[in-house]
Subunit: 423 residues, 2 copies
C-alpha cells in the first residue's frame, strides 16, 4: 500500500464525461488503497485548502458519478502564470500538498492545466518535496496537443451530429410553407472541431448540414449567402452550422457584429447564429430559424458517446497508475492505432510537449471550398461518436445523476491570504 | 376488407413522435388491408393531388419510421378558413378525395387541423360523398382542448427537463470563477407548458431552474432581476427558464425588445433569452450564458419520452379504428384515469369540441409568485416524461432514422389552379 495521499482536481470548462474520469481515478486509487482528496473548484480549492474527502462516498455513488455530467467537485477558470510571476501561489500549493501529505497530484483539464501541473512538478523538485504530477486530458474543444483526441469532445460531437440531423428532419418537413434555412451555432472559438462533427450527419452534399463555417477560414458573406441560395434552390431548404469563432478576413469576430447597445441603452449580446440568420433573412427573404445550444452541447450526458465515455474512464485509471509508478510530469494520451476498425491505446506523454500548446484542425479536414468536411475528417471523427452510454433514469423520467457531498477535511494551515474571491 | 382508400396527412409544426403516429396508422390500416395514401406536405398535398403511396414502404421501413423524428411526408403551415371563404379549396379537396376513392381522411395536427377535418366532413355530407374525417392529436405546445395531453409534448418536455438539469450541473461546477446565471429559452408563444416542464428538474427551491417565466404572467423586470440576485446570493448561481412568449404588463413581447436593425441596417433578430441575459449582465454584473434550443427541442427523438411514444402510436391505431367504424368528425383523445400509478385510455371526442380552441395551462399550475410550478403541475407533468424510447443507432454513431420515398400516385385531375406556391 503506497504511502501518502492523492489529490485530484478538475479545471476549465466541464464536460459530459469529466466525472467518468473522476470516478475512475477514485476507483483505481481505492483498489490500491490510496486515499483520494478532491480540490473544491479546481486549483482554487488547493490554494484555499478546501479539500473534499472522497472516502466518504459509497462505491455506488462513485459508480453513479461516472454517469453524471458537470464537474462533481467544481472546476475553475484560473490560470497560474510563470513560476516567477506566480511563485507565491505555487509555493502555497506546495505548502497545502505537504500539509496533507499529498504525494500525487492529478490535474484534469486542458493545456493550461497541463502547464500548471508541469510547473508544480518543477517547483516540488526544487523544494525536494516528493510529488508526482500527472495531467489528465479533458476538453470539448479537442485542442490538446499530442493526444489523438480529448475526453469530452466525442460526446459533444455526438450531441452536435445527432441534434443537427434531427433539426434537419424538422426543417425538411416544414420547408414547403415555413422555415427554409436553419442556423446552428457550435462551440469553438479557435478551432472548428465541433462544427466539423456536425458534418458527420451529412453523407451527401444535399444532406444537412449543407454548409459549415469554420474559424479556420475567413467568413465571406457574399460567398456564404450565394451558397445558401444555391442549396435552397436545389434542396428546398438549407442547414448551416457555424462555429462561434468565425471571423471576417480582417479578423473581426462575426459574433460581435450585432453586439452593443439596443435602443434603450441595454446590452445587446452578440452571436453568430443570430447574425447569420438575420443576414440570410434580409438577402434571401426566406423564413429562418436558429439555435444556440451553448452549455447543452457540452453537458449532454444523456447522449454521450461510448467511445468518449470509455476513454474518459481509461485516462483516469491510467493517470492513477502513472502517478503511483512515479511517472512525473506526464499525461496519459490517446494513441490511435487504426481507423477501421477503430483501435486506440494509452501512452505516457511528457507534459512539456502538451503545456500551453493548441492542436489545430488539420487543413486537410476542411473541404476545398472551406464550407464542409473531407473524407479524412470523417475517418477521424466517426469513431469518436460511436456507441451510446446512457445514464440510468429514475421513475420521474430524469437521469439518475448524483451530487457528491463536499465534506472538507480539517484545515491545517492559515487561510490563503491572496484569495482573489470570485471574479 | 373495407372498400376504399385512407388518406393521412401531417399538419403544423412537426414533433419527435408524429412519425410514430404515422407508422401506427399505416400498420393498423395494413392489418385491415386498407390502402394508405399520405398527402405530401399536409393539406397542400391533398389540394395539389400530390399523394404518396405508402404501400411501397416495406414493413421494416415503417417500423423504423416510428422511431424517426420530423414529418416523413412533409407538413405545412396552411390554415383553411371558413366554408364560405375557402369553399373552392374545400371543394377541390372533395374532388381529389373522390378521384382517389378516399373514404377515410386522417388529419394529424393541432386545433387548426381539427377544424379543417371538421369542415371537410361537413362539406362531404353536403355533397353526399361518403367520407369519415378523423382528427389525430399532435403538438409540442400541449394546447389541444379535451385531450389530457398531446403526443409530441411529452418528448419535448423530457428534452427540456433533462437539458436544463444537465446545463445546471455545468453552471454549478463553474460558478465560482465563471458563469453565474444561465438563461434557457423554451418554446411556447401563448402557453408555458414547456417552460413548466423544465420545473420537473427542480425538487427544491435551490435546484435548477430556480426561476421560470411564463407567458401566463406579466414579465416584471424589476421583480425578476431582484429574484435572480437573491438566488445567486443564496445558491451561488441561478438557472432561468423563459417562455419565448413572455410579455410585459402592457402586452409587449419581451422577445421584441432587442429586435430591429443593427448599426449597419441589418436585421437584428430578437429573442427572450438573449435579452434577459443582457439585462442580468447589466444589472448584476455577473457572467451570463444563454441557450436557445429552438427546433432541437421538438425534434429530439433521441431523448423521446416512452409515455409520449406509446401515446403517439396509440392515437394512430385508434384513429384507424374510428375511421373504419365510421365515427365521423371525432378525434381519439387521451383520458387520464390516474396520476399515480399513471393510467390513461383513449376516447372519441367530437371535433366540434376541439376545433379552434386552445387549452390554457391551469392557473393552479403556476406558483403564487408566478415564477415556478406547483405540486399539481408536477403531478400532471411527471408521467408524461417517464420512460425512454431510444432509436437504434448505426455504426457511424448516428440514429438509424429513415426517409421514406415520396413516390406519388398518378394524377387523375387537372392541376390545382389556385396553388399559392411557396410563401
Amino acid at each position: 500500500m503506497p504511502q501518502g495521499t492523492l489529490l485530484y482536481a478538475q479545471s476549465g470548462g466541464v464536460t459530459a464525461v469529466i466525472n467518468a474520469t473522476a470516478a475512475a481515478v477514485i476507483e483505481a486509487a481505492r483498489a490500491r488503497r490510496v486515499k483520494v482528496l478532491a480540490a473544491r473548484n479546481g486549483i482554487l480549492g488547493a490554494l484555499r485548502e478546501e479539500l473534499i474527502d472522497t472516502s466518504k462516498a459509497p462505491a455506488a455513488a462513485v459508480r453513479a458519478l461516472a454517469l453524471t455530467p458537470g464537474g462533481a467537485f467544481g472546476s475553475c477558470r484560473v490560470k497560474l502564470k510563470s513560476l516567477d510571476v506566480d511563485r507565491a501561489r505555487y509555493e502555497r500549493l506546495i505548502a497545502v500538498l505537504r500539509a496533507h501529505d499529498v504525494r500525487w497530484f492529478l490535474y484534469n483539464g486542458g493545456n493550461d492545466s497541463a502547464d500548471t501541473a508541469l510547473k508544480l512538478s518543477q517547483l516540488a523538485a526544487e523544494f525536494d518535496y516528493p510529488l508526482t504530477c500527472i495531467g489528465v486530458p479533458k476538453t470539448v474543444d479537442n485542442d490538446l496537443a499530442v493526444t489523438d483526441c480529448c475526453p469530452g469532445f466525442g460526446s459533444a460531437a455526438k450531441y452536435t451530429a445527432v441534434s443537427v440531423r434531427e433539426a434537419a428532419l424538422d426543417v425538411a418537413a416544414m420547408a414547403d410553407t415555413s422555415t427554409r434555412v436553419f442556423v446552428y451555432e457550435a462551440m469553438g472559438r479557435h478551432a472548428g472541431w465541433l462544427a466539423a462533427a456536425a458534418g458527420l450527419a451529412a453523407k451527401t452534399p444535399d444532406e444537412a448540414p449543407q454548409i459549415i463555417l469554420f474559424p479556420e477560414r475567413a467568413y465571406d458573406e457574399t460567398a456564404f449567402l450565394a451558397h445558401v441560395e444555391r442549396v435552397v434552390a436545389r434542396v428546398g431548404w438549407c442547414v448551416v452550422v457555424a462555429s462561434e469563432g468565425i471571423r471576417t478576413a480582417d479578423g473581426r469576430f462575426v459574433a460581435d457584429a450585432g453586439a452593443g447597445k439596443d435602443a434603450f441603452g441595454h446590452t445587446q449580446l452578440g452571436g453568430v447564429a443570430a447574425h447569420l440568420a438575420g443576414r440570410v433573412h434580409d438577402a434571401l427573404g426566406v423564413k429562418v430559424h436558429w439555435a444556440l445550444p451553448d452549455y447543452l452541447q457540452r453537458s449532454a450526458r444523456h447522449i454521450a458517446s461510448r467511445t468518449d465515455f470509455e476513454q474518459a474512464q481509461a485516462v483516469g485509471r491510467k493517470a492513477v497508475a502513472y502517478a503511483l509508478d512515479g511517472r512525473n510530469a506526464t499525461m496519459p494520451v490517446i494513441v490511435r492505432t487504426s481507423d477501421s476498425p477503430y483501435r486506440w491505446k494509452l501512452e505516457a506523454a511528457p507534459l512539456q510537449r502538451i503545456a500551453n500548446r493548441e492542436k489545430k484542425m488539420p487543413a486537410g479536414f476542411i473541404r476545398s471550398d472551406g464550407r464542409g468536411i473531407t473524407a479524412a475528417a470523417r475517418r477521424y471523427l466517426e469513431p469518436l461518436i460511436r456507441g451510446e452510454a446512457y445514464p440510468p433514469y429514475r421513475r420521474d423520467g430524469l437521469p439518475a445523476y448524483v451530487a457528491l457531498g463536499h465534506a472538507l477535511v480539517p484545515r491545517k494551515l492559515a487561510p490563503w491570504a491572496e484569495d482573489p474571491g470570485r471574479d
